[in-house]
C-alpha cells in the first residue's frame, strides 16, 4: 500500500541509523582486521607488517581459547536458565492478587538499575568474602565452615551475580506477557478440571514462548560481552575467563594488540554465528 513517495521517505528516514551503524561497525572492524595481521606490540614499539594469519593461529591454538569458549557458553547457559526459570516463576507470582504488588515489583526490578561494577563489588566484598562477608557470617552462625565462593565456586558465583542483575529484566518482560493472557481461558481450563501444572504447561507456557525468545535473544547479546563482573571478582582466574576476557588479557594485560585483535575478530565471527543460530532456532517466534 506504500507509495513510491513514502518508500523513498522511509529510506531517507532509515539512512542516518544505517549509515552511523555502518561507520561504527566498519571503521573499527577494518582497523582491527588490519591490526590482526600485524606484529603490533606497543610496549615493544613494534608495528610490523605481515604476520598474515599468524596471530589467528596463535590465538586459536592456545589452550586458553577453547577453555574460554566453554566458559562463555557455561556462563551464558547458566544465566539464561536462572533468569528464564526464575523470571517465569516471579512473573506468575507477581500476577497473583497480592497486597502491595506495586512495592514488590519495585523491589524486584531494582537490581536492573545497579551498574555492573557496583553489583560485582558489593557481592564480592560484602556477601561472598569468606571472612567478612554476610554469607560467611550466616554460615558461621549455623555452625558451618564458611565457603570461599569466588575460588571454590567461581563460575557459579559470577553466574549468580549476573543472574541477579538480569532477573528483573526477564521478569518484567514475562510479567507483561502473562498479564496479557486471557484469564477466562485459564478459568475455563480450571472448570474443566485441569490442574495448575497442566494449565501452566498447556496454556501459560505456550503463551510465553514469544517473550522467552525475546529474553533469551536480548540477554545473549548483552551476556556475550560481559566484562566488569569478571574483572572485579576473579580477574579471569579459576576458570572464569570468557572469550571477551581472554581478548582483554591479550590486548590490555599483555599489550599484544595484534594477537588481541585477531581474538576480537574471532569473537565477532563466533558471536554472529551464535546470533544466526538463535535466529534460526527461536527466531520464528519473532515473525508476526
Amino acid at each position: 500500500m506504500a507509495t513510491q513517495h513514502s518508500r523513498s521517505a522511509a529510506r531517507a528516514m532509515m539512512a542516518p541509523a544505517v549509515f552511523l551503524l555502518l561507520v561504527w561497525m566498519l571503521v573499527p572492524l577494518i582497523l582491527t582486521l588490519w591490526f590482526s595481521t600485524l606484529d603490533y606490540r606497543p610496549l615493544r614499539g613494534t608495528f610490523d607488517c605481515c604476520e598474515g594469519l599468524g596471530n589467528y593461529v596463535r590465538f586459536v591454538s592456545s589452550s586458553a581459547f577453547w577453555d574460554s569458549i566453554l566458559t562463555t557458553l557455561q556462563l551464558l547457559g547458566g544465566v539464561l536458565l536462572i533468569t528464564v526459570v526464575g523470571g517465569i516463576g516471579l512473573a506468575i507470582l507477581l500476577d497473583q492478587p497480592i497486597w502491595g504488588q506495586g512495592v514488590v515489583r519495585i523491589l524486584v526490578i531494582a537490581p536492573f538499575f545497579v551498574m555492573p561494577t557496583v553489583s560485582a563489588l558489593v557481592w564480592k566484598n560484602m556477601f561472598m568474602n569468606p571472612v567478612n562477608g554476610l554469607f560467611a557470617h550466616a554460615f558461621k552462625a549455623v555452625g558451618l565452615e564458611p565457603v570461599d565462593w569466588l575460588s571454590q565456586f567461581p563460575l557459579f558465583s559470577i553466574i549468580l551475580i549476573v543472574s541477579w542483575q538480569w532477573l528483573p529484566f526477564a521478569t518484567l518482560i514475562l510479567l507483561t506477557a502473562i498479564q496479557s493472557l486471557d484469564s477466562e481461558q485459564l478459568e475455563a481450563a480450571e472448570m474443566d478440571g485441569a490442574g495448575p501444572l497442566s494449565r501452566f504447561g498447556y496454556i501459560t507456557l505456550p503463551h510465553l514462548a514469544r517473550s522467552i525468545t525475546v529474553v533469551v535473544l536480548i540477554q545473549t547479546i548483552f551476556l556475550l560481552s560481559i566484562f566488569a563482573e569478571i574483572f572485579v571478582t576473579t580477574g579471569g582466574a579459576f576458570g572464569t575467563r570468557t572469550l571477551t576476557y581472554l581478548v582483554y588479557q591479550r590486548v590490555i594485560e599483555s599489550q599484544n594488540v595484534g594477537l588481541g585483535s585477531a581474538g576480537g575478530i574471532i569473537a565477532v565471527i563466533l558471536a554472529n554465528i551464535v546470533a544466526a543460530i538463535l535466529m534460526r532456532v527461536v527466531g520464528k517466534n519473532l515473525d508476526a
Binding site: 606490540r41 568474602n129 567478612n132
Partner: protein, 435 residues
Amino acid sequence: MTDTLRALMGATALTAVALAAQAETITIATVNNGDMIRMQGLTSHFTDMHPDITVEWVTLEENVLRQNVTTDIATGGGQYDVITIGTYEVPIWGANGWLVALDDMGADYNVDDLLPAVRGGLTVDGHLYASPFYGESSMVMYRTDLMEAAGLEMPEAPTWEFIREAAAAMTDRDNEVYGICLRGKAGWGENMAFLSAMANSFGARWFDMDWRPQFDTEAWSNTLTFYLDLMTNYGPPGASNNGFNENLALFQTGKCGMWIDATVAASFVTNPTDSQVADHVGFALAPDNGLGRRGNWLWAWSLGIPASSDAQEAAKTFIAWATSSAYTELVAAEEGWANVPPGTRTSLYENQAYLDAAPFAEMTLRSMESADPTSPSVDPVPYTGVQFVAIPEFAGLATEVGQLFSAALAGQMSAEDALSQAQALATEEMEAAGY
C-alpha cells in the same frame, strides 16, 4: 604507534586540536592507596604556592589505573601530565622514550638524597625518569602478643622453617586467628610479586641466562610446595582471593598471626585508629633459606611525566613538590611523622623525629637496602627486578602464571600441574616474543 598509522589517520582527521592555551592545568593519575589519597588531600598547599597551576586528580583502583595509563602512553594519547608508575614500568617506558627525563628538578630536590637502590631502579642510561613517591620492600609483620602466647620469639632474621613453626603455633581456627596471611590473588603485582621474591630465597629464578623459563626446576617446586603447604594449613580461608588490601584488613582486625608483605603496611597496622592490633605488632626481615637471598622485594611508586604531556613544566613543578623533603615535613606537620611516605630518601632515616614515631623505620630501611634488583636470586639472571622481570611481556605472562598458582592455592590443581603449565605458557610466550 607508527608513522604510517599516524599519517593515515591524520589524513582523515577533521582537526588536530592543539590544547596549548590552557597548559597550566595538570592531570594527575594516581592509585587509590592511602599515601596518594593523602597527597590529594594536601593539594591546596601546592596550589597556594603555585596559583597559576590547576590540579585535576584521577584517582583509580590500581588495575584500572594501570590499564588506562598504559593504553594512554602506548597510543600517545596525552591524557595525563603526571602518572603514578612503579619500578617495573619506568625502565621499559623510559627506554622507549615515553617519559620525560627528570634531570633538572631544581636545587631543592636534592637527587643525591634518594636511596641508591630506588634511584637505580628509576634510572635509564643515567637519566632519572620518575621521581619516587614512596618506596617499599617486604618484611614480616607479626603479632607480638600471639607470638608470646605461643612461647616463641621472632628472630630479627627468621628462616622459612621458623615461619612455618610459628604459623603452626599461632593458628587458632576456632577463634579465627590464622598463623600466616600471604598474597594469593592472581596478578603480577599481587601473588606473583610475593612468590617471585620468595622464590629468590629458595634459589629459584624466572629465567636462566639464555632466557629459558625455569618453572621446571626443583627450586620452583620447593617454593610453591612450601607456600601451598603453609597457606593450606595455617592460612585464612579464601586466601586465593587475598591481595595486599584484603590481607591488610585481616591483619588489622586481628585475624593474622604473621603477614609478610610491603613495608608500607607497617604504618597502617600500627595506626590505632585503623588497626585493632596496633599495640602488638613486631617486625622482622623477610625469611630466608640460608642460601644468601631473602624473600623481600623492592618497589617504588613514582611520579613520571609522559612525553605526550602538554604541561611538562607544571608537571615537573608538581613532582618536585610532591617528592621533596618539604612534602615529607608537610605531612609530618599535618598528620604526624608515622604517616609520611617512606622509603625514598636517606635523610628521612636520619631524622630522629621520624625514627621515634616509626618503630618500623629501621627494619624498612634494612629490607630495602638488602634487595638487589640486578642480582635478585642465588644464580645469575639476565634481567633486572626482584619480584618482576623488567621486560614488556612480564605483566601479561606473570598474571597468567599467577592465575595458575592461585588456582593451585584454591585446590583446583596440583603444584606440579601448575608449574608444568606455567612452564609451557612461559616457553610459548617467550618464543613468540622472540627470545
